[in-house]
């Protein structure tokens, strides 16, 4: 029996332990947003977050995620509660065929969670494992930048908390 968190819910599976996480999520839990593209970790269509890291799940045995926190595209955001990246994806019509885009979004969101203001080079480094056959790379890049900006904006409007300025009451 293997236990892990999938999109904030505890789950438990009893499957061949070498089954890649991708197929467990797609065919056992019926969450079809993550895609199969290469089976070798070369294209990124299967990308999910494992403990916050973007991971190619087509080559990740389910036994390796015992106790891990897994987020798939379904956990990133939904139509009525879009992640800022998804919002930017929609506004800029990034997708063409759309098949790779779940993986692109998961790689991009892992990037932004660590680097709120990525440079072009940062974006290219983080996204180079994700292939798009329709050639949407320039829109992906531009959507990541606008989402990053949108995610930073509210923070800059909040007054910075500086403990040095706090009056300590006696």
């Amino acid at each position: 029996m293997i236990n892990f968190q999938l999109n904030n819910s505890p789950v438990e599976v009893d499957l061949d332990p070498d089954t890649p996480l991708l197929w467990v999520v797609r065919d056992h839990f019926k969450l079809k947003g993550s895609k199969f593209g290469c089976g070798m970790g070369l294209c990124g269509a299967c990308t999910m977050h494992v403990n916050g890291e973007a991971v190619r799940t087509c080559i990740l045995p389910v036994s390796a995620v015992q106790g891990a926190v897994i987020t798939s595209i379904e956990g990133l955001g939904q139509a009525d509660n879009l992640h800022p990246l998804q919002q930017a994806w929609v506004e800029q019509s990034v997708a063409q065929c759309g098949y790779c885009q779940s993986g692109q979004l998961m790689s991009a969101s892992a990037l932004l969670s660590k680097n709120p203001n990525p440079s072009n080079a940062d974006i290219e480094a983080a996204m180079n494992g994700n292939i798009c056959r329709c050639g949407t790379y320039s829109k992906i890049k531009s959507a990541i930048k606008s989402a990053a900006q949108a995610m930073r904006a509210p923070v800059s409007m909040v007054e910075t908390f500086d403990p040095a300025n706090v009056e300590v009451k006696q």
């Binding site: 499957l15 061949d16 070498d18 089954t19 197929w23 797609r26 065919d27 019926k30 969450l31 079809k32 947003g33 993550s34 895609k35 199969f36 593209g37 290469c38 089976g39 070798m40 070369l42 294209c43 269509a45 798939s72 595209i73 379904e74 955001g77 939904q78 139509a79 879009l82 998804q86 994806w89 929609v90 506004e91 800029q92 019509s93 990034v94 997708a95 063409q96 065929c97 759309g98 098949y99 790779c100 885009q101 779940s102 979004l105 974006i123 290219e124 480094a125 996204m127 180079n128 494992g129 994700n130 292939i131 798009c132 056959r133 329709c134 050639g135 949407t136 790379y137 320039s138 829109k139």
Partner: protein
Amino acid sequence: MNKTSLTRRRFLLSTGAIATGLIVGCSTATAKTKGYTAIAGAFEPNSFIQITADNQVIFYLPSSEMGQGILDGLTTLIAEELRVDPTIIDVRHASLHEDYKNPEMGMQGTGGSNATRAQFLPIRQAAADTAAAIRNAAARQLNQPVDKLLLANGHVTVDGQRYGFGDFVALASTMPIPENSPLRSPEQFDQIGRERPRLDTLAKSTGTAIFGIDAEVENLYRAVVVRSPVLGAALQSFDASVALKQSGVVDVVELRNGVAVVAQSYWQARKAAAAVELVWDTPELALWSSDSIYKGFTETLNDQSQKGLECCEEGEGDKLLDQAQHVVEADYYAPYLAHATMEPLNCTVAVEGDSCAVYLGTQSVQASAGAAVYYGDFDADKVKVHPAFLGGGFGRRGLGDDVAEAVVIAKKTGRNIQVVWSREDDMSNDFYRPAALVRMQAGVSEQGVIETWAVRRVGPNVMDHVLDQWVDVLAPDYLNKGFVDWLSKLGRPLFKRFIADPSSADGIYADYDAPNKAVRHVTQDPGLRTGFWRSVGHSSNAFFKESFIDELAQRAGIDELQFRLANMQNNPRLTKATEMVAAKAGWGKPLPEGHFHGLASHSSFGSAVAQIAEVSVEGAKIVVHKVTAAIDCGMVVNPGIVRDQVEGGIMYGLTAALFGEITLVDGVVQQSNFHNYPILRMADAPEVDVYIVDSQEHPEGVGEPGLPPLAPAVANAVFKASGQRLRNLPLRLS
């Protein structure tokens, strides 16, 4: 409208006729049935539109959405004429029905970049007639003169009162449907031509768009097929005893092209498939390797006794070639290519009694349904195809080979089956873009006028391989199967001896004015199956033609832009696109140190595209910094999608130009996955600027025309950067 596209269109029509003879009798539908399931109380004027009493507008999309944006495009046309916001329309993929036939193809299919062009008027007419019917019903129901009623934003308005369309559907259903209602004029358009986010973008940004591989039905088993390493080999024997003992495996089934392992999960089936031992016979293809294919092409190219077939003969042909001031000759080569759609092929089949439901993304619902009939022995009226989004098409999906396996496995096991191809299965069982070797010859006058244009092309064709698939699955089911299979093989002698396959010569002679032209094609086919690959013959022919044009300009000592413009005076659309791209990219203006511009102009699928690539060379590495493109595709439905398609064509073309090559050793395809068939990645993707020529002409293709000029634009820049004229694809500096 240029010559090439006309030829191709006519050809597809006639191929449709040869291939099928059919279409009548392809489904049991009569003119009175609709292509969709009726909804109680809804107004159902035609097979495209349903309007329910609660104001739901449903559009049945007759074309396949594979990324090219046709869902958005055709829905926009419906919205324009029906006077509704496109975002409120519930779009569903249409299943098989003769009303959904592609008017240019003669079958229900999506390809040849014609979905907007061919359906621009009929789809609008269907919506305009629907709008007129709603208006007539409203007039009668409200007892108002028709011309007092205004249709806008999904409402009927009269005297300041607004009514939903749904208020009138009951009455409209009892009244005659108007025909030939006037269409809105371009000055009235408020949807067509508007820049707006794509309609399918939300689903594709949330993981909720359903592709074929996402199909789920009750009690679904997964199958993996082990196929021959050499395509076309026949299975002699196999031993699945070890596989059958593996975890989750429930069945092993022999197919005509391999052995299927059926298990509870994909992973179980995949693992067990590796344990099946198979013995194959040796087909003719096993005699060929890439080296011997290239050598064979070269021998044929030089063997003038092999005349081949005439593709084009104008003026004096090549008779005056030697009399020109400059006589230029060069040989060019393009390799076989795989499609490598992001979604590997797959097909899901549910069988219940004598009925069969097929779930997949396909470029031809009709061919997919036909495959279930032909290979699965189901009655045509018992087959239902449930089309899904395609995770890329590019010409690969819709030949029926995916369905063929799944229906037989389902039938033999009595189980619901999903066949999932691995990336390796997909890459080694493709219908490849054919390789070609050409000898380009031209005579150019002292003033730089091309007088003679002569091409001798050697390689396989596409249509014979496609017909081998399509005749089987599209022929009327009352014909004897043996006869149909015999018929399906006739394409090979037909295109070798009698008719030049137009797709082999597409785009190699049409763009320039040369008064004397001679183009011949010699069919030489090792047997590796071929198919439609984004832009088909144009994909290699534009590289040959546009690289060679630069060679001619350079020999004549004339600027490559001026040389093109001077020699395409009968080609106003390509002239406009070429002038536009030159102005936008700053042709002739200084570039950063070490950067060079290369230009290429090419017409395909009715559209004219010119591109300028900005390239530098770093050692043996070709770096493409930027591509500027201009397209004249006639009237535009959604400019954002046109730009995306051109950019997508550039990226797909750049993958092919820099890396793309399928090679054979003893008939076995050597490429298997993205490590040895690399795809362009973000870090290597150039900046792209796309400009659209303003036009009120009928819309033309956009899905494919962006691709052909890319490789020659890059090669022409590489020549300037390195002095090396690269005449073989992929482009490799020595």
